[in-house]
Symmetry: C2
Subunit: 207 residues, 2 copies
């Protein structure tokens, strides 16, 4: 309804919140949640401490919005993957997206949520819950999509779709860690191609 406030009088905002959020995302991506200090963030965003609190509330809320931007941007390959018409396409887009996202030129390597989640401390509990929820959401999205593939006959009837989703996320996580450790895009591309070569994997529970 009211896209404009009641009385927008006074000094206008001198910076672009979207651009500031982009910078904040990169800092969190690079340093993790607790590793990114307020001076780090505000300096990168080009705004003062005061403005950050006025616009975003606090550090945790800033991270929430940065994560949302991350999920819609560099990490949108999950949503892209489930839109593929075949299960093989889902796996291909997902793993290729993981490689591309973890080795984006001009961005930190690896995965933002991974760098931010593997932290201790009691204050980071809300952050861990947030990241856990996002991870579970991705997992559920993949699981549902793969189950549909089973129903459609695109995957063997005995396929455990949840386990197969976990399989994909395991490879994706490994790719992210490797990228954070300095692995190049070409190497990781070859690795996920090798994984995709044996699709679908034989996830036999019995041994």
């Amino acid at each position: 309804m009211d896209s404009q406030r009641s009385a927008p009088v006074g000094r206008p905002r001198s910076f672009d919140p979207d651009e500031a959020l982009e910078k904040a995302m990169r800092v969190f991506w690079q340093n993790g949640y607790e590793g990114a200090s307020l001076p780090d963030l505000t300096e990168a965003m080009g705004i003062s401490r005061t403005s950050m609190y006025a616009v975003f509330g606090n550090k945790e809320e800033l991270f929430r919005q940065a994560l949302a931007r991350y999920a819609d941007g560099p990490a949108s390959y999950g949503a892209e993957a489930v839109a593929e018409p075949t299960a093989r396409g889902v796996a291909t887009v997902f793993l290729h997206g993981a490689v591309r996202s973890a080795t984006l030129p001009g961005y930190p390597t690896g995965c933002l949520s991974l760098r931010a989640s593997l932290i201790g401390g009691e204050d980071g509990q809300g952050i861990r819950e947030l990241l856990g929820a996002w991870r579970d959401e991705t997992s559920a999205m993949l699981t549902n999509r793969l189950r549909r593939a089973v129903d459609e006959g695109d995957l063997p009837a005995e396929t455990d779709s949840a386990l197969l989703a976990r399989y994909l996320m395991t490879i994706g996580n490994g790719v992210a860690v490797q990228a954070a450790g300095g692995a190049g895009r070409a190497d990781l591309q070859v690795i996920v191609d090798a994984v995709l070569q044996s699709w679908p994997p034989v996830l036999s529970t019995d041994r």
Copy 2:
């Protein structure tokens, strides 16, 4: 030479350094390097702040020794793997070891070095170098072993042993992340078995 000091007179040590190091390792494993505070560590070790500094020097040195204990204990599967007579055995022991180590009952889930490495901050630089060195050491160990397998005809002649080692570490890292996220041992076991089902993987650089 002199296994005993010159004049061991005075109050004897009232705690077992080895046992204390074990406790410290668990705390680091659970909370990461920066996430483990001095009170956390000393309380778990059952010793005072003073004693910790007297015995280990500082927090970073304590972590070094805890990591060494980790590498010789729960994470010794890397060394065990390269002792296998076949490349398939190497991969099997490595991946099964990764699963077992990441889901040890009574221990934190996941991988100590992963939890400790993915942190920012400027003070953690020495820690990151230490963990990077250990990772590179493992990588080199696997690479050399796989190269030997190529020389012995145990793997195809055109195999890129370094890339194949990276392939194994990628899966292992993914397993560690999944375990840290709550994945159970049985699921991860099935996943790595599926990976091993297509051994050796087709790591074709050309597409």
